[in-house]
C-alpha cells in the first residue's frame, strides 16, 4: 500500500467521527521505482491532506518532506522528486494501521490492509 492510498483511508466503524488519519506501525517497507509524472503530482497535490501524508511518510522512514508547502514548490524539480518518492514509490508491506479514535488495529499483510469490520462495528 502506498501513501496516496493511506491518505484516503479512514476507520469506518459505526459512531467513529475522527477515523482519519490512521496511524501506521510499519514492520516491512519496500521501495519500488516508478516513472515520475509531474502533471499527475500537480493534479493530486491540492487534494492531499498534507499533514497526514507527511506524518505517514515519517512512519515509513521518509523524513525529507517539508512541513509547510505551497503550490509554487511544484515547480521545483527536487521537491517533485521527493514528493513523488514518498507518494508513489514507498510501500507499506507488513504492519498495522491504527484508528486514532478507538485504537482499533487493521493489519496490513503482503501490502494489503484488511479493513473488514466485525458485525458489531458496522
Amino acid at each position: 500500500m502506498r501513501l496516496l492510498t493511506h491518505n484516503m483511508l479512514s476507520c469506518n466503524i459505526k459512531g467513529v467521527t475522527n477515523g482519519f488519519p490512521l496511524a501506521i506501525e510499519a514492520t516491512t517497507v519496500e521501495t519500488k521505482e516508478v516513472d515520475m509524472n509531474p502533471d499527475f503530482l500537480r493534479h493530486i497535490f491540492p487534494k492531499l491532506e498534507w499533514k497526514a501524508f507527511r506524518d505517514a511518510s515519517h512512519s515509513l522512514g521518509v523524513d525529507d518532506l517539508p512541513e509547510q508547502v505551497d503550490p509554487d514548490m511544484l515547480l521545483d524539480e527536487e521537491f517533485l522528486r521527493r514528493f513523488h518518492h514518498a507518494l508513489l514509490e514507498v510501500h507499506l508491506e507488513e504492519g498495522v494501521l491504527i484508528c486514532p479514535e478507538t485504537g482499533r488495529r487493521f493489519p496490513v499483510s503482503k501490502g494489503i490492509p484488511n479493513m473488514l469490520l466485525n458485525e458489531d462495528e458496522v
Binding site: L4, N37, F40, K47, E49, L88, K110
Partner: protein, 232 residues
C-alpha cells in the same frame, strides 16, 4: 498501448479458480474489459494520469487494464482474500502498481476528492438483493457525488438527476471541481456460456456524469430499459 496489445495482455491474467457464487464472482472477459477501458481512456481521457478505483476488483482485471493504460494510481477493493491474492499476482506479473484493500464495498468511504474514475464489474444482485445498487451507491460515495454527510441510497441517486432538487444543484456545483465518471460493466451469468458476441456500448451522460454501460448485444435492450427506469 494499442487495443490489441491490451486485450492480449488482459487475456493472460489468471482468473477465479473456484468462483464463489454467493459473491457473484464472474470473471470479466479480456475482450470486454479491454474495450471498456480503452474507450474510457481514448474517448474520455478518464484513465491515463488519473486515480482509478476498481470496486469489487476480484482478480484485478479492470485494475490491471487501467494500470496498463497509464493510470497513475489504481486501487482495487474486494471483500475476498483469495481473489485479492490472485489479483496481487496478476498486478505483479505486469509490474503494475495497484494498491489492493480488503474491505466491504458497502462501507468503503474514501476520504477527500482524490478519485477521478471508478471502474467496476459489479454483482447484479442475483444472490444478495440490492447488491448492484449498493455498488452504484458506493461508486457515488467514492467519487463524492453526494453532498458530505448524506447517506447514499437509491432514492438519493434518483434525486441527483432531478435538476430542480437541492441535491441536484449542489451535485452540479460539486462537479465543477472534479472530473467525474462512473463506469459500470454488467455481465450476465448466462452470457458467460456464450461465445463473445458483438460488442455494444451505451454511454449515458447526465449532468456531466458519464455512465459507461458495456454489454453484449443480447442484453442491450434489457439494460437500456432498466437504466431509463432507474436513473432518469
Amino acid at each position: 498501448m494499442k487495443l490489441k496489445q491490451l486485450e492480449a495482455s488482459i487475456s493472460q491474467l489468471i482468473q477465479f479458480q473456484n468462483p464463489k457464487i454467493e459473491l457473484e464472482q464472474y470473471s470479466t472477459g479480456a475482450h470486454i474489459a479491454s474495450r471498456m477501458l480503452y474507450m474510457a481512456n481514448s474517448s474520455y481521457n478518464d484513465i491515463g494520469g488519473k486515480v482509478v478505483v476498481d470496486l469489487g476488483c476480484g482478480c484485478g482485471t479492470l485494475g490491471v487494464a487501467a494500470s496498463l493504460l497509464s493510470a497513475d494510481h489504481v486501487i482495487g477493493i474486494d471483500i475476498d482474500a483469495e481473489a485479492l491474492d490472485v489479483a496481487r499476482v496478476n498486478s505483479e506479473e505486469f509490474e503494475g502498481t495497484i494498491d489492493f484493500i480488503q474491505g466491504n464495498v458497502a462501507d468503503c468511504k474514501l476520504k477527500g476528492w482524490k478519485v477521478d474514475t471508478v471502474v467496476m464489474n459489479p454483482p447484479f444482485g442475483t444472490r444478495k438483493k440490492g447488491a448492484d445498487m449498493m455498488f452504484l451507491s458506493s461508486a457515488c460515495q467514492v467519487l463524492k457525488l453526494f453532498p458530505v454527510g448524506q447517506q447514499s441510497s437509491l432514492s438519493k441517486i434518483k434525486l441527483l438527476y432531478e435538476k430542480d432538487s437541492k441535491i441536484g444543484r449542489s451535485f452540479v456545483s460539486s462537479c465543477n471541481s472534479v472530473h467525474i465518471s462512473i463506469m459500470l460493466l454488467r455481465l450476465y451469468q448466462t452470457l458467460s456460456t456464450h461465445r463473445e458476441g458483438k460488442f455494444a456500448t451505451i454511454v449515458w451522460q447526465l449532468l456531466g456524469l458519464t455512465f459507461y454501460y458495456d454489454a453484449m448485444q443480447t442484453c442491450v435492450q434489457y439494460l437500456s430499459t432498466e437504466i431509463i427506469c432507474t436513473y432518469c
